[in-house]
Symmetry: C2
Subunit: 215 residues, 2 copies
Protein backbone atom coordinates (compact mmCIF):
# COMPACT_ATOMS: atom_id res chain seq x y z
CA UNK A 1 0.00 0.00 0.00
CA UNK A 2 1.45 3.32 -0.99
CA UNK A 3 1.66 6.04 1.69
CA UNK A 4 -0.63 8.16 -0.49
CA UNK A 5 -3.70 5.93 -0.20
CA UNK A 6 -6.65 7.37 1.74
CA UNK A 7 -6.10 4.95 4.65
CA UNK A 8 -2.51 6.03 5.18
CA UNK A 9 -3.55 9.63 4.87
CA UNK A 10 -6.22 9.16 7.53
CA UNK A 11 -3.68 7.48 9.78
CA UNK A 12 -1.29 10.39 9.22
CA UNK A 13 -3.99 12.89 10.09
CA UNK A 14 -4.82 10.99 13.27
CA UNK A 15 -1.15 10.86 14.25
CA UNK A 16 -0.70 14.53 13.52
CA UNK A 17 -3.62 15.48 15.76
CA UNK A 18 -2.34 13.18 18.51
CA UNK A 19 1.09 14.77 18.27
CA UNK A 20 -0.33 18.30 18.51
CA UNK A 21 -2.40 17.34 21.55
CA UNK A 22 0.61 15.69 23.20
CA UNK A 23 2.82 18.70 22.52
CA UNK A 24 0.29 21.22 23.88
CA UNK A 25 -0.44 19.02 26.91
CA UNK A 26 3.20 18.49 27.80
CA UNK A 27 4.23 22.11 27.44
CA UNK A 28 1.28 23.15 29.62
CA UNK A 29 2.19 20.65 32.33
CA UNK A 30 5.99 20.74 32.32
CA UNK A 31 6.96 23.97 30.61
CA UNK A 32 8.78 24.44 27.35
CA UNK A 33 12.27 23.57 28.57
CA UNK A 34 11.29 20.14 29.87
CA UNK A 35 9.18 19.19 26.85
CA UNK A 36 11.07 16.89 24.47
CA UNK A 37 10.38 15.27 21.12
CA UNK A 38 10.75 11.92 22.91
CA UNK A 39 8.13 12.88 25.46
CA UNK A 40 5.73 14.11 22.78
CA UNK A 41 6.20 10.87 20.79
CA UNK A 42 5.61 8.70 23.85
CA UNK A 43 2.42 10.53 24.82
CA UNK A 44 1.12 10.57 21.25
CA UNK A 45 1.86 6.85 20.86
CA UNK A 46 4.03 7.31 17.79
CA UNK A 47 7.69 6.72 17.08
CA UNK A 48 10.15 9.59 17.48
CA UNK A 49 10.96 9.24 13.78
CA UNK A 50 7.37 10.03 12.85
CA UNK A 51 7.81 13.42 14.48
CA UNK A 52 11.21 14.05 12.95
CA UNK A 53 9.81 13.16 9.53
CA UNK A 54 7.38 16.11 9.72
CA UNK A 55 9.06 18.68 11.94
CA UNK A 56 12.58 19.89 12.64
CA UNK A 57 12.23 20.77 16.32
CA UNK A 58 9.85 20.91 19.24
CA UNK A 59 9.37 24.62 18.54
CA UNK A 60 8.11 23.74 15.04
CA UNK A 61 5.67 21.14 16.42
CA UNK A 62 4.31 23.59 18.96
CA UNK A 63 3.92 26.49 16.56
CA UNK A 64 1.92 24.27 14.20
CA UNK A 65 -0.08 22.87 17.10
CA UNK A 66 -1.19 26.41 17.97
CA UNK A 67 -2.09 27.18 14.36
CA UNK A 68 -4.10 23.95 14.21
CA UNK A 69 -5.87 24.78 17.49
CA UNK A 70 -6.92 28.09 16.01
CA UNK A 71 -8.35 26.34 12.96
CA UNK A 72 -10.25 23.93 15.20
CA UNK A 73 -11.78 26.77 17.20
CA UNK A 74 -12.88 28.48 14.00
CA UNK A 75 -14.26 25.15 12.73
CA UNK A 76 -16.30 24.80 15.90
CA UNK A 77 -17.88 28.12 15.21
CA UNK A 78 -16.01 29.89 17.97
CA UNK A 79 -16.07 33.54 17.06
CA UNK A 80 -12.86 34.50 15.46
CA UNK A 81 -10.51 36.42 17.68
CA UNK A 82 -6.91 37.44 17.68
CA UNK A 83 -4.78 37.11 20.76
CA UNK A 84 -2.22 39.79 20.22
CA UNK A 85 0.03 37.74 22.42
CA UNK A 86 0.59 34.31 21.02
CA UNK A 87 -1.51 35.24 18.23
CA UNK A 88 -2.42 33.87 14.90
CA UNK A 89 -3.15 30.66 16.71
CA UNK A 90 -6.68 31.78 17.13
CA UNK A 91 -7.43 33.40 13.85
CA UNK A 92 -9.44 32.20 11.00
CA UNK A 93 -8.05 32.83 7.57
CA UNK A 94 -10.63 35.50 6.81
CA UNK A 95 -9.18 38.37 8.81
CA UNK A 96 -11.05 40.95 10.84
CA UNK A 97 -14.60 41.74 9.69
CA UNK A 98 -15.05 44.97 7.77
CA UNK A 99 -18.66 46.07 8.05
CA UNK A 100 -17.69 49.71 7.65
CA UNK A 101 -18.13 50.29 11.40
CA UNK A 102 -14.63 50.20 12.88
CA UNK A 103 -15.73 50.37 16.48
CA UNK A 104 -18.21 47.48 16.13
CA UNK A 105 -15.72 45.33 14.21
CA UNK A 106 -12.93 45.83 16.76
CA UNK A 107 -15.27 45.16 19.67
CA UNK A 108 -16.48 41.94 18.07
CA UNK A 109 -12.96 40.66 17.45
CA UNK A 110 -11.66 41.60 20.89
CA UNK A 111 -14.62 39.94 22.64
CA UNK A 112 -13.86 36.77 20.70
CA UNK A 113 -10.17 37.12 21.53
CA UNK A 114 -10.97 37.20 25.24
CA UNK A 115 -13.07 34.05 24.90
CA UNK A 116 -10.24 32.32 23.06
CA UNK A 117 -7.56 33.40 25.53
CA UNK A 118 -9.59 31.98 28.40
CA UNK A 119 -10.13 28.64 26.59
CA UNK A 120 -8.27 26.13 28.77
CA UNK A 121 -6.97 24.32 25.68
CA UNK A 122 -5.13 27.50 24.79
CA UNK A 123 -4.31 29.25 28.06
CA UNK A 124 -1.73 27.01 29.73
CA UNK A 125 0.31 25.97 26.67
CA UNK A 126 0.30 29.51 25.23
CA UNK A 127 1.40 30.88 28.58
CA UNK A 128 4.28 28.37 28.77
CA UNK A 129 5.45 29.10 25.23
CA UNK A 130 5.25 32.86 25.80
CA UNK A 131 7.14 32.61 29.10
CA UNK A 132 10.00 30.75 27.44
CA UNK A 133 10.02 33.31 24.63
CA UNK A 134 10.67 36.10 27.13
CA UNK A 135 13.99 34.59 28.17
CA UNK A 136 14.93 32.67 25.00
CA UNK A 137 15.27 35.47 22.47
CA UNK A 138 15.46 33.19 19.41
CA UNK A 139 12.29 31.33 20.37
CA UNK A 140 10.60 34.59 21.32
CA UNK A 141 11.34 36.12 17.92
CA UNK A 142 10.04 33.00 16.17
CA UNK A 143 6.81 33.08 18.19
CA UNK A 144 6.34 36.74 17.35
CA UNK A 145 7.05 36.24 13.63
CA UNK A 146 4.91 33.12 13.22
CA UNK A 147 2.02 33.72 15.61
CA UNK A 148 1.89 37.39 16.60
CA UNK A 149 2.85 39.43 13.56
CA UNK A 150 0.35 37.72 11.22
CA UNK A 151 -2.32 38.77 13.69
CA UNK A 152 -1.03 42.30 13.96
CA UNK A 153 -1.11 42.43 10.17
CA UNK A 154 -4.87 41.74 10.22
CA UNK A 155 -5.39 44.73 12.48
CA UNK A 156 -3.12 46.86 10.30
CA UNK A 157 -5.23 45.97 7.26
CA UNK A 158 -8.50 46.74 9.04
CA UNK A 159 -7.15 50.04 10.36
CA UNK A 160 -5.83 51.01 6.92
CA UNK A 161 -9.24 50.37 5.45
CA UNK A 162 -10.76 52.52 8.21
CA UNK A 163 -8.26 55.27 7.45
CA UNK A 164 -9.24 55.21 3.79
CA UNK A 165 -12.89 55.44 4.86
CA UNK A 166 -12.11 58.49 6.97
CA UNK A 167 -12.67 56.69 10.29
CA UNK A 168 -9.07 57.10 11.39
CA UNK A 169 -7.08 60.32 11.51
CA UNK A 170 -4.85 60.41 8.40
CA UNK A 171 -1.60 60.72 10.36
CA UNK A 172 -2.23 57.60 12.49
CA UNK A 173 0.23 54.71 12.10
CA UNK A 174 -1.93 51.54 12.17
CA UNK A 175 0.95 49.39 13.45
CA UNK A 176 1.17 51.53 16.59
CA UNK A 177 -2.58 52.19 16.90
CA UNK A 178 -3.42 48.49 17.18
CA UNK A 179 -1.27 48.24 20.30
CA UNK A 180 -3.65 50.52 22.22
CA UNK A 181 -6.17 47.69 22.50
CA UNK A 182 -4.14 44.55 21.74
CA UNK A 183 -1.38 45.09 24.32
CA UNK A 184 -3.68 45.80 27.30
CA UNK A 185 -5.58 42.57 26.60
CA UNK A 186 -2.30 40.67 26.35
CA UNK A 187 -1.02 42.11 29.62
CA UNK A 188 -4.22 41.37 31.55
CA UNK A 189 -4.21 37.84 30.21
CA UNK A 190 -0.53 37.03 30.72
CA UNK A 191 0.19 38.87 33.94
CA UNK A 192 -3.29 38.62 35.44
CA UNK A 193 -3.32 42.36 36.12
CA UNK A 194 -7.08 42.64 35.84
CA UNK A 195 -10.31 41.04 34.72
CA UNK A 196 -10.72 40.16 31.06
CA UNK A 197 -14.35 40.86 30.21
CA UNK A 198 -16.27 42.02 27.16
CA UNK A 199 -17.08 45.26 28.96
CA UNK A 200 -13.38 45.84 29.44
CA UNK A 201 -12.46 45.29 25.78
CA UNK A 202 -15.39 47.47 24.65
CA UNK A 203 -14.04 50.22 26.91
CA UNK A 204 -10.54 49.88 25.47
CA UNK A 205 -11.90 50.34 21.95
CA UNK A 206 -13.88 53.43 23.00
CA UNK A 207 -10.87 54.98 24.74
CA UNK A 208 -8.51 54.22 21.85
CA UNK A 209 -10.86 55.57 19.18
CA UNK A 210 -11.99 58.71 20.95
CA UNK A 211 -9.11 59.43 23.31
CA UNK A 212 -9.12 59.99 27.04
CA UNK A 213 -8.76 63.78 26.84
CA UNK A 214 -11.83 65.99 26.33
CA UNK A 215 -12.68 66.63 22.72
Amino acid sequence: MSPRTPDASRRSETSRRAIYAAALGLVAESGYAKTTIEGIAARAGVGKQTIYRWWGSKADVLLEAFLDLGEQQVGEGTLQGTTGMTGGALDGPQGIPDTGDLSADLKLVLRATVDNLLDPRFDAPARALTAEGLVDEKLGRTVVAKLLEPNFELYVERLRSAREAGQLRPEIDPRIALELFVAPVAQRWLQRTGELTHTYTDTLVDYALHGIAPR
Copy 2:
Protein backbone atom coordinates in the same frame (compact mmCIF):
# COMPACT_ATOMS: atom_id res chain seq x y z
CA MET B 1 30.17 44.79 70.05
CA SER B 2 26.42 45.03 69.68
CA PRO B 3 24.92 44.41 66.24
CA ARG B 4 23.59 47.96 66.32
CA THR B 5 27.00 49.68 66.21
CA PRO B 6 27.81 51.62 63.01
CA ASP B 7 30.46 49.05 61.95
CA ALA B 8 28.05 46.15 62.11
CA SER B 9 25.42 48.22 60.34
CA ARG B 10 27.85 49.03 57.53
CA ARG B 11 28.74 45.35 57.25
CA SER B 12 25.04 44.48 57.07
CA GLU B 13 24.48 47.06 54.36
CA THR B 14 27.40 45.67 52.36
CA SER B 15 26.09 42.12 52.71
CA ARG B 16 22.61 43.18 51.73
CA ARG B 17 23.84 44.84 48.55
CA ALA B 18 26.00 41.79 47.72
CA ILE B 19 22.98 39.54 48.20
CA TYR B 20 20.80 41.66 45.92
CA ALA B 21 23.48 41.68 43.23
CA ALA B 22 23.95 37.91 43.52
CA ALA B 23 20.20 37.28 43.34
CA LEU B 24 19.71 39.50 40.27
CA GLY B 25 22.77 38.04 38.56
CA LEU B 26 21.77 34.44 39.16
CA VAL B 27 18.19 34.83 38.07
CA ALA B 28 19.35 36.58 34.90
CA GLU B 29 21.81 33.80 34.08
CA SER B 30 19.94 30.67 35.18
CA GLY B 31 16.30 31.65 35.38
CA TYR B 32 14.07 31.80 38.41
CA ALA B 33 13.53 28.06 38.84
CA LYS B 34 17.23 27.24 39.09
CA THR B 35 18.09 30.11 41.41
CA THR B 36 18.42 28.97 45.03
CA ILE B 37 19.07 30.62 48.36
CA GLU B 38 22.23 28.48 48.58
CA GLY B 39 23.43 29.78 45.21
CA ILE B 40 22.73 33.38 46.15
CA ALA B 41 24.59 32.95 49.46
CA ALA B 42 27.61 31.37 47.77
CA ARG B 43 27.87 34.10 45.14
CA ALA B 44 27.38 36.87 47.71
CA GLY B 45 30.00 35.31 49.99
CA VAL B 46 27.67 35.08 52.97
CA GLY B 47 26.23 32.20 54.94
CA LYS B 48 22.82 30.83 54.01
CA GLN B 49 21.61 31.77 57.49
CA THR B 50 22.36 35.43 56.80
CA ILE B 51 19.81 35.34 53.99
CA TYR B 52 17.23 33.41 55.99
CA ARG B 53 17.61 35.91 58.83
CA TRP B 54 16.36 38.70 56.56
CA TRP B 55 14.11 37.02 54.01
CA GLY B 56 11.67 34.14 53.92
CA SER B 57 12.20 32.99 50.35
CA LYS B 58 14.08 33.66 47.14
CA ALA B 59 11.01 35.51 45.84
CA ASP B 60 11.29 37.92 48.79
CA VAL B 61 15.00 38.51 48.13
CA LEU B 62 14.37 39.19 44.46
CA LEU B 63 11.43 41.51 44.99
CA GLU B 64 13.52 43.61 47.39
CA ALA B 65 16.48 43.49 45.03
CA PHE B 66 14.32 45.07 42.32
CA LEU B 67 13.03 47.74 44.70
CA ASP B 68 16.62 48.50 45.72
CA LEU B 69 17.74 48.68 42.09
CA GLY B 70 15.05 51.25 41.45
CA GLU B 71 16.25 53.34 44.37
CA GLN B 72 19.82 53.16 43.10
CA GLN B 73 18.77 54.37 39.65
CA VAL B 74 16.91 57.28 41.19
CA GLY B 75 19.95 58.04 43.39
CA GLU B 76 22.14 58.13 40.30
CA GLY B 77 19.93 60.78 38.83
CA THR B 78 18.41 58.43 36.27
CA LEU B 79 15.14 60.01 35.29
CA GLN B 80 12.35 58.38 37.14
CA GLY B 81 10.30 55.95 35.12
CA THR B 82 7.75 53.28 35.70
CA THR B 83 7.93 49.98 33.92
CA GLY B 84 4.37 48.88 33.87
CA MET B 85 5.67 45.35 33.66
CA THR B 86 7.89 44.49 36.57
CA GLY B 87 7.20 47.81 37.88
CA GLY B 88 7.82 49.77 41.00
CA ALA B 89 11.36 48.55 40.75
CA LEU B 90 12.22 51.63 38.82
CA ASP B 91 10.26 54.30 40.58
CA GLY B 92 11.34 56.97 42.89
CA PRO B 93 9.15 57.58 45.88
CA GLN B 94 7.90 60.88 44.52
CA GLY B 95 5.41 59.59 41.94
CA ILE B 96 4.75 60.98 38.50
CA PRO B 97 5.43 64.71 38.03
CA ASP B 98 2.37 66.96 37.99
CA THR B 99 3.23 70.16 36.16
CA GLY B 100 -0.35 70.63 35.08
CA ASP B 101 0.49 69.43 31.55
CA LEU B 102 -0.65 65.80 31.41
CA SER B 103 0.82 65.08 28.01
CA ALA B 104 4.26 66.43 28.91
CA ASP B 105 4.31 64.61 32.25
CA LEU B 106 3.35 61.25 30.73
CA LYS B 107 5.88 61.63 27.92
CA LEU B 108 8.64 62.41 30.40
CA VAL B 109 7.87 59.39 32.57
CA LEU B 110 7.50 57.00 29.65
CA ARG B 111 10.79 58.12 28.09
CA ALA B 112 12.49 57.44 31.41
CA THR B 113 10.72 54.10 31.67
CA VAL B 114 12.13 53.05 28.30
CA ASP B 115 15.63 53.99 29.44
CA ASN B 116 15.19 51.99 32.62
CA LEU B 117 13.78 48.93 30.86
CA LEU B 118 16.76 48.84 28.52
CA ASP B 119 19.24 49.13 31.43
CA PRO B 120 21.10 45.79 31.35
CA ARG B 121 21.08 45.62 35.15
CA PHE B 122 17.31 45.46 34.96
CA ASP B 123 16.44 43.79 31.68
CA ALA B 124 17.59 40.18 32.10
CA PRO B 125 16.58 39.60 35.73
CA ALA B 126 13.21 41.36 35.29
CA ARG B 127 12.56 39.29 32.19
CA ALA B 128 13.35 36.06 34.06
CA LEU B 129 11.13 36.97 37.00
CA THR B 130 8.28 38.00 34.71
CA ALA B 131 8.58 34.79 32.65
CA GLU B 132 8.28 32.65 35.76
CA GLY B 133 5.32 34.72 36.92
CA LEU B 134 3.44 33.84 33.71
CA VAL B 135 3.45 30.14 34.55
CA ASP B 136 3.65 30.26 38.38
CA GLU B 137 0.41 32.02 39.26
CA LYS B 138 1.29 32.60 42.92
CA LEU B 139 4.61 34.22 42.06
CA GLY B 140 2.99 36.18 39.23
CA ARG B 141 0.36 37.60 41.54
CA THR B 142 3.03 38.57 44.09
CA VAL B 143 5.09 40.33 41.41
CA VAL B 144 2.01 42.22 40.25
CA ALA B 145 0.99 43.21 43.78
CA LYS B 146 4.45 44.26 44.95
CA LEU B 147 6.04 45.71 41.82
CA LEU B 148 3.35 46.48 39.25
CA GLU B 149 0.30 47.71 41.11
CA PRO B 150 2.18 50.36 43.11
CA ASN B 151 3.31 51.75 39.76
CA PHE B 152 -0.15 51.61 38.26
CA GLU B 153 -1.36 53.48 41.33
CA LEU B 154 1.00 56.37 40.50
CA TYR B 155 -0.58 56.64 37.05
CA VAL B 156 -4.05 56.42 38.56
CA GLU B 157 -3.24 59.34 40.87
CA ARG B 158 -1.80 61.45 38.06
CA LEU B 159 -4.77 60.71 35.81
CA ARG B 160 -7.24 61.52 38.62
CA SER B 161 -5.54 64.84 39.13
CA ALA B 162 -5.78 65.46 35.37
CA ARG B 163 -9.47 64.57 35.45
CA GLU B 164 -10.05 67.08 38.23
CA ALA B 165 -8.21 69.68 36.15
CA GLY B 166 -10.49 68.97 33.19
CA GLN B 167 -7.74 67.33 31.11
CA LEU B 168 -9.46 63.95 31.09
CA ARG B 169 -13.02 63.19 30.06
CA PRO B 170 -15.06 62.85 33.28
CA GLU B 171 -16.25 59.31 32.48
CA ILE B 172 -12.75 57.89 31.97
CA ASP B 173 -11.61 55.16 34.39
CA PRO B 174 -7.94 55.98 35.15
CA ARG B 175 -7.13 52.34 35.98
CA ILE B 176 -8.07 51.33 32.43
CA ALA B 177 -6.76 54.49 30.74
CA LEU B 178 -3.20 53.94 31.97
CA GLU B 179 -3.08 50.62 30.14
CA LEU B 180 -3.28 52.38 26.77
CA PHE B 181 0.34 53.50 27.11
CA VAL B 182 1.78 51.23 29.81
CA ALA B 183 0.79 47.89 28.25
CA PRO B 184 2.17 48.62 24.75
CA VAL B 185 5.54 49.54 26.26
CA ALA B 186 5.52 46.37 28.35
CA GLN B 187 4.69 44.21 25.34
CA ARG B 188 7.37 45.74 23.10
CA TRP B 189 9.90 45.30 25.88
CA LEU B 190 9.00 41.76 26.94
CA GLN B 191 8.10 40.21 23.62
CA ARG B 192 10.40 42.32 21.43
CA THR B 193 7.49 43.15 19.12
CA GLY B 194 8.94 46.50 18.09
CA GLU B 195 11.46 49.23 18.81
CA LEU B 196 11.28 51.02 22.16
CA THR B 197 12.14 54.62 21.45
CA HIS B 198 11.18 57.99 22.86
CA THR B 199 9.40 58.82 19.61
CA TYR B 200 7.32 55.70 20.05
CA THR B 201 6.27 56.48 23.62
CA ASP B 202 5.49 60.09 22.68
CA THR B 203 3.24 58.74 19.91
CA LEU B 204 1.44 56.40 22.31
CA VAL B 205 0.65 59.32 24.61
CA ASP B 206 -0.68 61.40 21.71
CA TYR B 207 -2.86 58.55 20.43
CA ALA B 208 -4.19 57.72 23.90
CA LEU B 209 -5.01 61.32 24.79
CA HIS B 210 -6.55 62.36 21.51
CA GLY B 211 -7.80 59.07 20.08
CA ILE B 212 -7.15 57.54 16.71
CA ALA B 213 -10.53 58.48 15.21
CA PRO B 214 -11.06 61.93 13.67
CA ARG B 215 -12.23 64.56 16.13
